[in-house]
């Protein structure tokens, strides 16, 4: 079986390569080229998914060699551990619908000239991420990691005429490259200590001591954190996501960010021996900060894709939060409790992938139909795009962590993890958990507010612009993938046991984890570590809910009249689209309450003819300060460039200076040599 799977995996990569080649040859004929690359990608994803599924079920690793780079003697080895299989599974579940969606979406989102390029990058991105998850050794990993970065950069820069997307691509490249630098250093230091570059022998346990160990953790945390989008390493994310075509944004959120998380789990949490308490604290802290800041920023965005991007940061935060709880438990030698926490973050990885890609695809439909990403220009789309609306609503409810949908499950587990952390850790340290819990609660509630706003403003009430008024529903081929994802969100919410069972397998494969009781007695229920403490059966509530819904229907429909339609009451005045509540207004209270975070700057100008009390129009501009860009990255970049510019005096064109360098070097070396020895 293993060999067949190996063939499957190798085949998948082969197919991608062929697809790339053929699509490049067919660049002259966009339609055909698009078809080839996407079909190839679809098949490849399916094959990888199958392999992953097998490993998850069989709970045994599959490994082999993809390719031997003769010139450098480097071997590309792969190893499907249960953990990597889980991430591959997530990847496959998202990649397949997104690919199908792209088949229709690219026709208008990507100009024919660029089809070949985008197709190539699309395949390389997916292939690279698959390889990242499957890599068995450092060099394979770094190869795939770099390739992944480049492919994404190309996709982000597709519309390189716009300054924004050029900037986004560059920012992304630079940040991820710095991250990669950290990874290279970390990996090679560890591999030097281990005397081998294969993960299997490198990450068995504690290979470093004292401050070096902390330094290694820091290196890896930064390296993977950049990709995962942990605050304050997140700045590239909200720039890059909107710049790319929507289906690509879906992949970036669901897959690229996940790659970072994979690294965090594989190396930071379980690769460097028993995690140190401070590491766990760092994860808890930065996790909750990312969650809260992410959702707060999301709440004020009017560009729907930026909004979704920020909410990705939020969800990464939640994932890292769970991981941090797990590491804390590990640090105190409670492998059983760590299991819950890690399972929580792994579950959230899947759930986030599902609903975030669903939402991005929905956003894609909207952008395709209206040509704008600004929700202030939308409205009333539900009448025009009923299906898109329904699916987007499903996604919105899922991401808000409402029961019966999948978001709730993983957040429930995360809460459990935090409570256990509180119960299991001694002393003051334990107080971090309830704080983190409070942050998580705040995050969830704010997320609900954020997505009420996102859905309500763009899909409900009257259209605010002509484009919104003339919007049309997307074609079936774009809707079907969303339908699939929406059903997936519901299924994962109603049958959490099934998923948690699978995760259990991946979790126990991690070093130091003991899983006492399985998470699930049956497909519909989840039990946290100690059954008596808490369990949940969403489906049961679902039944009650359905019954109650029936009651409400009965109560209200036994009536003598049919419902009458009337215009909305406008205090005697007449209501137009312009009097509707705007997104900006909706988030105003939050903006005011958290002004310490936003540091908003507002300007209001009233244009009046007669008197200031009867303004003809009032212009309102509000922008929030890009804190990190301004206070963290700006100075760094300016500093580097300043130094670089300063260095220019070395090459000021004076031959005499150049000769002086040689003189100085010579004298220096002669002095170094000294005289009699």
């Amino acid at each position: 079986m293993g060999s067949i799977l190996a063939a499957g995996l190798t085949g998948a990569f082969a197919i991608r390569l062929v697809a790339i080649g053929v699509s490049l040859l067919l660049r002259g004929r966009p339609a055909l080229c698009r078809f080839v690359s996407l079909a190839g990608s679809l098949v490849a994803s399916a094959m990888t998914l199958r392999a992953a599924l097998h490993v998850v079920r069989a709970r045994g690793a599959v490994e082999g060699v993809l390719l031997h780079h003769a010139a450098s003697g480097i071997e590309f080895g792969y190893q499907l551990t249960p953990l990597s299989a889980w991430f591959l599974l997530v990847l496959g579940v998202v990649a397949i619908p997104v690919t199908v969606y792209s088949a229709a979406y690219f026709t208008h989102a990507v100009s024919p000239r660029r089809t070949a390029t985008v197709g190539m990058a699309f395949n390389s991105l997916l292939g690279a991420v698959e390889l990242v998850f499957a890599a068995a050794d450092v060099l394979t990993f770094l190869f795939a990691w770099e390739l992944m970065t480049l492919a994404t950069a190309i996709l982000v820069a597709t519309e390189h005429q716009e300054r924004a997307s050029r900037r986004a691509a560059y920012l992304y490249l630079v940040m991820s490259h710095v991250g990669t630098g950290c990874l290279v250093a970390g990996f090679f230091v560890v591999s030097a200590a281990a005397g081998s570059t294969s993960f299997a022998t490198m990450f068995v346990g504690n290979l470093a001591e004292g401050s070096l160990r902390h330094a290694l953790f820091a290196l890896f945390f930064v390296g993977f954190g950049v990709k995962a989008g942990i605050v304050p390493l997140h700045v590239w994310l909200p720039e890059a996501h909107p710049a790319a075509p929507s289906s690509i944004s879906a992949l970036m959120s669901a897959v690229l960010v996940t790659a970072g998380v994979y690294g965090l789990v594989r190396v930071c949490a379980f690769g460097l021996g028993t995690p140190h308490v401070y590491w766990a604290l760092a994860c808890l802290l930065l996790g909750s900060v990312s969650a809260v800041l992410g959702v707060l920023y999301a709440l004020t965005q009017t560009d729907i894709k930026r909004l979704l991007a920020y909410s990705t940061i939020e969800n990464t935060g939640i994932i890292v939060l769970g991981l941090g709880a797990g590491m804390m438990a590990m640090a105190y030698g409670r492998g059983d409790l760590a299991a819950v926490a890690v399972a929580a973050s792994l579950a959230h990885v899947l759930n986030h992938a599902a609903f975030k890609s669903l939402l991005f695809l929905g956003a894609g439909n909207v952008v395709a139909a209206t040509g704008t990403r600004n929700i202030e220009e939308l409205g009333g789309l539900l009448h025009r795009m009923p299906w898109t609306g329904l699916f987007f609503l499903t996604g919105a409810m899922a991401i808000s962590g409402l029961p019966l949908l999948n978001g709730f499950v993983s957040e429930w587990l995360t809460f459990q993890a935090l409570l256990f952390g509180f119960a299991s850790t001694p002393g003051l340290m334990r107080l971090n958990f309830p704080l983190a819990g409070a942050m998580l609660a705040l995050t969830t509630a704010l997320a609900a507010a954020c997505f009420v706003r996102a859905f309500g403003i763009s899909f409900l009430a009257r259209p605010r612009t002509r484009v919104a008024d003339e919007a049309h529903e997307a074609p079936a081929i774009m809707l079907v993938p969303q339908a699939f994802l929406a059903v997936l969100c519901l299924a994962l919410g109603l049958f959490p046991g099934a998923v948690l069972g699978a995760i259990g397998g991946s979790v126990v494969s991690l070093p130091g984890i003991q899983l006492q009781t399985s998470f699930a007695r049956n497909p519909v229920s989840i039990v946290s570590g100690i059954p008596s403490f808490d369990y949940v059966v969403p489906a049961l509530l679902g039944i009650a809910f359905a019954a109650a819904l029936l009651v409400s229907w009965i109560v209200t429909t036994r009536q003598r009249f049919a419902s009458r339609r009337a215009p909305t009451w406008g205090c005697g005045g007449e209501l137009t689209a312009s009097t509707e509540y705007t997104a900006t207004a909706f988030s105003k209270p939050v903006m005011m309450i958290f002004r310490g975070v936003y540091r908003p700057t507002r300007e209001v100008e009233a244009l009046a003819e007669v008197s200031a009390y009867f303004p003809r129009e009032v212009r309102y501009r509000a922008r929030i300060e890009p804190t990190f860009e301004r206070y963290v990255y700006g100075p760094i970049v300016r500093g580097v460039l300043k130094v670089a510019a300063g260095m220019k005096v070395l090459q000021a064109g004076s031959l005499h200076a150049y000769l002086a360098y040689v003189l100085l070097l010579t004298v220096a070396l002669l002095l170094w040599l000294g005289g009699k020895t």
Binding site: R430, G437, V536, L549, P589
Partner: protein, 318 residues
């Protein structure tokens, strides 16, 4: 006929009875508070059955809906209603076990209530009336601010009792007997503030007003009329009753029936009525002795309760 089926039927019956009872009592509580308040202001106040009259009337009225609205507008109140009802089945009221406690505990309860809020807020945006938006925005904001404090407060009791499942929790508290631990008081105070906020009472919201600038919950449902409005009002009442019951369960569970004997049940019902009406009086007193806060002062209030909850946790477990 197999025993699991019996079991299922038993659960269903229990749930139905409890839900029905809560539905029946909720309007009374609402009017009771109104009446008490009126008395404190030396007014006559409405008759005790006013709540029922209102509901009956509204239910019989012709449903008028906005032209711009979509199905969301219709679904909103119903989901709100259904969520609250299914939430009630998770809470023990007269017996020391909730009918549907096998479905989940505190987190599920909070989640379910959030589901209802989400639905109503979304629906409020559907008419295109600025009031709806304003109400939705404010309601979601306040809920978001209240959430952490609510969770922390609940965690304190849950960790004390060693279970997040309300049924098990109450049983635990009952057999532990009354613990006069100071943390209980703090947690209670914290949660009380949250309940006030969640049920839209002064000083956070004013259920009586219809002034544009002060409305929160009212603004959100301003467009609703007839049966739709009836559902909303009724649900609000049930939610209020639910929150008070929750406080009762967590902090004064004494007297709740641990067996199904008629005597125990009787005592438990009476005790519950007494405790709930006592809480109602407290709420009324708060409402009559305070003025409504400005929206941007609410965070201060809520953070106070957050602080209380955290303090409770700290002194309880350190």
């Amino acid at each position: 006929m197999s025993s699991p089926l019996f079991h299922a039927i038993g659960i269903a019956l229990a749930a139905i009875v409890q839900v029905a009872a809560m539905l029946a009592v909720a309007p009374l509580l609402k009017t009771l508070i109104k009446k008490l308040k009126a008395r404190l202001q030396n007014r006559q106040g409405p008759p005790l059955l006013q709540g029922y009259y209102d509901l009956a009337k509204l239910l019989r009225k012709e449903p008028v809906r906005s032209e711009t609205a979509s199905w969301i507008y219709v679904a909103g109140p119903r989901v709100y209603f259904a969520a609250a009802l299914s939430a009630t089945t998770l809470v023990p009221v007269w017996t020391a076990s909730a009918p549907l406690e096998s479905a989940g505990g505190i987190l599920l309860l909070v989640g379910t209530l959030a589901l209802g809020r989400f639905a109503l807020a979304t629906a409020a945006l559907d008419t295109g009336s600025p009031f709806g938006g304003m109400g939705a925005s404010r309601d979601m904001t306040i809920a978001a601010l209240a959430e952490p404090a609510l969770m922390l407060g609940l965690f304190t009791s849950a960790l004390a009792a060693g279970s997040m499942n309300l049924g098990a929790l109450v049983r635990g508290l009952v057999q532990q007997g009354p613990s006069y631990h100071p943390s209980d008081l703090l947690a209670f105070a914290g949660l009380l503030i949250i309940v006030v906020a969640e049920t839209g009472r002064i000083p956070v919201d004013n259920p009586a007003t219809h002034l544009e600038l002060t409305m929160i919950h009212e603004a959100m449902v301003l467009e609703y009329a007839g049966p739709d409005l009836a559902l909303v009002e009724w649900t609000a009442a049930v939610k209020e009753l639910l929150y008070l019951t929750l406080l009762v369960d967590l902090f004064m569970p004494l007297g709740i029936a641990t067996s199904l004997s008629p005597a125990a049940l009787l005592i438990s019902v009476v005790a519950w009525a007494a405790k709930v009406s006592m809480l109602a009086i407290v709420v009324t007193l708060i409402e009559s002795m305070n003025a409504k806060l400005r929206l941007f002062r609410v965070p201060e209030l809520v953070s106070t309760s957050l602080g209380l909850a955290f303090l409770a946790l700290a002194i309880r477990f350190l």
